[in-house]
Symmetry: C2
Subunit: 272 residues, 2 copies
């Protein structure tokens, strides 16, 4: 983390990983993640949804087999990786919690904290596999940053990013496994309408579970508070790439000298 | 209006006008509008924000001079035009109401009804000129259609289109005078996230009031319920163009066999 100097707005190094997880092979995926991130230095990294397991489970039992809780290997792995790289890491995983099974994203910090967000809006067949998330949209504070997390299909509900922005998130970390074509453009809108950075880490590749096949769209991206793409991947890139960004830019919600997109809201007129 | 037959979803002819109003010359603007629309047949037409007056007023008094109420010539003009063309027309105007001055859009029907929406979110210097709208977002029913209206900068607040969609608008009529570059892409997102048609009618040209100059971005468009642009103008087109669209498509909010973007909302988690 670059320390803030007087009159020098702090910049952080933020990165996203785009890769192709191996279906239901946690060992292979952690190994790949270590290869991509292990020798890098960054402040914040965002990995895809279900990065440790792959996505296309045939049913709930299929996902249960590779689901983990804090005693599982992935939590320890990311704690070590976070210490080694110096940065916080947001990674998607299948989470066991008692008899519940969640599509979760964990924010792991070098201090050894694990903050969990459980996907609020399940997509397509996920509702047959996972329980609906029960954490709500959370903003995690870490070293002066305010980090919001949402997962993949949460994007289509404007309330997801809006809730995070109203809770003062500066950066929305957005682990994804996208199969539709709309999200990347919509995240530009999410950045503009909320004045936040958005980091969408998407996977690539086709995953065939023997019954159905899904192809993921890549095009991971980071958008700034004005909706500019300051980092973007193509449909096949496999890499971890970083960019410098200034989180404090999200603290002003002014779009011009008259308008503030948060305080100009007229909430009394939003009742349907 | 095409009548509905059994098993034949109804299509309507919907159009948008992109042109360059003459600043503070209502006569000239009504004449131009009549030239563009007068010999056409359509079910629904959307015109730009402040289509009758132009936009770049120096101050409130400047706008007051050309503001009208229902006794003004524009209401009668659009009533006649609506009868002649057979369609409803949404047109932007500066509205006097007692001592209040609103940036309004009127939905005028061939039956002679005028439904008024007053802009909720004023942009830039507009707050020095107009009073903030007090109607809220309304859905007007006409011949089986449910038409929502919002004006220009309302776009940046996702709550505007969301409120209209939750009030069951099928088509969002969006008179605009856009000067920023983001809205047209954002309206694609508005269509997708709400499953509605959006008709953004924007003006073109540069308007210099002797103090400041504004250039408007054109690129008027109609997006369908899946976010496809089914009609789009360039930055300089001056014309009224129509497309056939099927309003009932907005009545299903399914994005796949599992997800419904309205009923899947988890409102309890949207509290900031």
């Amino acid at each position: 983390m670059v320390h803030k100097k007087a009159d020098t707005p702090r910049k952080i190094t933020a990165g996203i990983l785009q890769f192709r997880p191996v279906f239901k092979d946690i060992d292979a995926n952690l190994k790949a993640i270590k290869k991509y991130l292990g020798r890098r230095k960054f402040d914040l990294a965002v990995l895809p949804e279900l990065a440790t397991t792959g996505y296309n489970f045939t049913d709930r039992n299929d996902a249960w087999e590779v689901a983990e809780n804090k005693k599982g290997q992935s939590f320890g792995f990311f704690e070590e990786l976070s210490v080694k790289t110096g940065g916080a890491i947001v990674w998607g995983m299948a989470e066991r919690a008692g008899k519940k099974l969640y599509n979760s994203a964990v924010l792991t910090t070098p201090e050894g904290d694990h903050h969990i967000y459980r996907k609020t809006h399940l997509f397509f067949r996920e509702s047959e596999i996972f329980d609906p998330g029960n954490t709500g949209f959370k903003v995690f504070k870490w070293r002066g940053l305010r980090l919001g997390v949402m997962i993949c299909f949460d994007w289509i509900f404007p309330e997801s990013a809006r809730t995070l922005a109203l809770k003062k998130a500066q950066i929305i970390c957005h682990p994804s496994n996208l199969v539709m074509r709309f999200c990347q453009d919509a995240m530009v809108t999410r950045s503009i309408e909320n004045g936040v950075f958005c980091m969408t880490s998407n996977r690539i590749g086709t995953e065939n579970n023997g019954i159905s096949s899904l192809t993921f769209t890549g095009r991971s991206q980071i958008t700034d508070t004005k909706g500019n793409r300051i980092l973007s991947f193509n449909r096949s890139d496999k890499s971890f790439r970083v960019v410098k960004l200034q989180p404090e830019l999200s603290d002003t919600k002014k779009v011009n000298s008259y308008n503030n997109i948060i305080t100009d809201r007229r909430v009394g007129y939003y009742k349907a």
